[in-house]
Amino acid sequence: MHVHFLDPYRPLVSPIHALDGRVKFVLTVAFILTVSLTPYGAWPVYLLLLSLMISVEILSGLGVGFVLRRANLALPFVLAALPLVFTTPGRELARLPIGPWTLVATVEGMLHFINVALKSWLSVQAAIVLASSTPFPDLLLAMRAVRIPRLLVAMFGLMWRYLFVLADEGLRLMRARASRSGHARRVDGEARRARAGGSLGWRARVTGGMAGSLFLRAIERSDRIYVAMLSRGYDGEVRSFALPPLSLRAQSTLWIGLSVLGILWLTGLLAWG
């Protein structure tokens, strides 16, 4: 198994790692909800939320740098909100002449854009801390605890278990393609860009064949898995252990966390709503 780097979980010893996965799951969703409900312009509330997030990142031992680097991955989507800078009416900030048109950036538009980007940035950090500090089985437990249907949770578990196996299959397919499709070197004097394989249609067909091959292997593997499950007493019912009780400490963390987020939400609502 070569793709264990896929798993974002970082095994460390910290109070955040030690916290019950169910509490973390609920608090993360509550945090993202609070960020979403914080009204436009409530900058002090955003600052408090950011300090809360950074404190958690430091406490978790993951480090602020680690989380922020991963948070960059969600950055390109910010482009979708960029037009806000130019379409929101308000005080003029700058003019951008593009050909025959002139785009007028406004202060209000800029603030709206920053508001959206900030919300997105805070939320993705919370999700990263959850995924990096909680092992996947604990997340499954948390999903069962919030009453996500058992069949769906079983599906998540099965998918996670075989994801690594099938990712390995995928890597093998890619290696096979790389070793067979003759990576053409650029010939001196030839202006055309060198690329592996033939025409676009050829490359698409080969990739399609690889995808088909991957699906075929998956289907055949699922047959073997089914037979193995049958021989171990599977009868179509997904069974799971009873949920362990929440410790007093986890319960108090949950309620304290929820009240802090509730206070932040109320502050934003009352002062800027």
């Binding site: 002090p44 600052l47 037009p83 805070l122 249907p149 099965l158 099938l166 699922s222 499950m229």
Partner: protein
């Protein structure tokens, strides 16, 4: 390599809370219905098949081919899942894929997951099912009917799902409809071609090696008519609504404004720092800067405090 950001997955912060919650409600209802349907109509064999298929779609997303200028075509998978296992199990498979992408890989937000599930697992599957079964029936006598239907189903599922995402952004007031619809639609009309080509290649391969997989047509699935009608309806609705919204962005803005108006009408009950200006400082610019510095100091103070406490604890342990 799994982490190429997908322009289809909406992150948190881009949807207004109301839009996010409405789509959560729709998606929960649809997925719950699909779960009931799958539980009733399919054998126990289907459970491992769906789980492994979801993993295959996830892993299949790393199989890409370069198109041009640094862009690459790769698989999203709603169409091929629909063709292989039928509409209801495909909803479950895509729900699994999209949820794990959001939860573990931050590809799409958690609060926005309801909307992302709606776009990719529900609209994507329904549109693919509608396009595939209709074309298959029309081209029954043609040997290439499978490939053409597969291509159209894959392309349409991507394109219509992108339009749905664009309209969700527009209704949230995050991206004006006359920008979001053409850009999301345009990009995904191209991405859809890549998806279509890979889907066709995969179908051709599977048809050559395991023809039996296609003998049990999903067309025969119970409740297929409802999915077909929903696919047709949502495709028509979005295809008509998007150009309209894009031509008259005021309509959607009006919706957003009504909502914003309601929020504004409540009015601020009291203000901690009136007009973002520091009390007691008359110069507005100076006061704004002061507030900014104070805020930054606050964040750093908290961070330093936590770091200090943690170090002490570590030293003691």
């Amino acid at each position: 390599m799994f982490l190429h950001p997908e322009p289809m997955h909406i992150p948190d912060g881009f949807l207004s809370t109301i839009v996010a919650i409405v789509f959560w409600a729709i998606s929960i209802a649809a997925v719950a219905f699909a779960l009931r349907r799958t539980g009733k109509q399919l054998g126990e064999r289907q459970v491992p098949l769906m789980g492994v298929l979801a993993a295959a779609i996830f892993a299949g997303q790393m199989l890409n081919f370069s198109v041009t200028g640094g862009t690459s075509g790769h698989l999203l998978g709603a169409a091929i899942a629909t063709i292989l296992v039928g509409p209801w199990p495909a909803v479950i498979v895509m729900t699994t894929v999209v949820s794990i992408q959001a939860l573990i890989f931050q590809d799409g937000g958690l609060l926005a997951l309801g909307a992302n599930l709606f776009n990719m697992a529900i609209v994507g599957v329904a549109v693919a099912y509608f396009a595939y079964t209709s074309l298959r029936r029309m081209l029954r006598s043609e040997p290439w009917g499978l490939l053409v239907s597969g291509f159209v189903a894959a392309w349409a599922s991507i394109f219509i799902a992108a339009l749905a995402a664009a309209l969700e952004l527009a209704v949230s007031g995050t991206s004006p409809a006359n920008v979001a619809v053409p850009s999301m639609g345009g990009i995904h009309a191209l991405i859809g071609i890549g998806e279509g080509l890979i889907t066709v290649g995969a179908l051709a391969f599977l048809y050559a090696t395991r023809r039996d997989l296609f003998s049990a047509q999903p067309a025969g699935a119970k409740g297929g008519a409802a999915v077909w009608a929903f696919g047709l309806g949502i495709a028509l609705l979005l295809a008509v609504l998007s150009p309209l919204a894009s031509a008259h962005p005021d309509g959607l803005e009006w919706v957003a404004e009504q909502k914003g108006f309601l929020e504004a009408a409540r009015g601020p009950l009291f203000r901690l720092i009136p007009d973002y200006v520091f009390p007691g400082v008359s110069n507005e610019t100076l006061a704004t800067i002061l507030a900014g510095i104070l805020g930054t100091l606050l964040v750093f103070g908290v961070a330093l405090g936590v770091a200090y406490l943690r170090r002490n604890r570590k030293a003691a342990a």
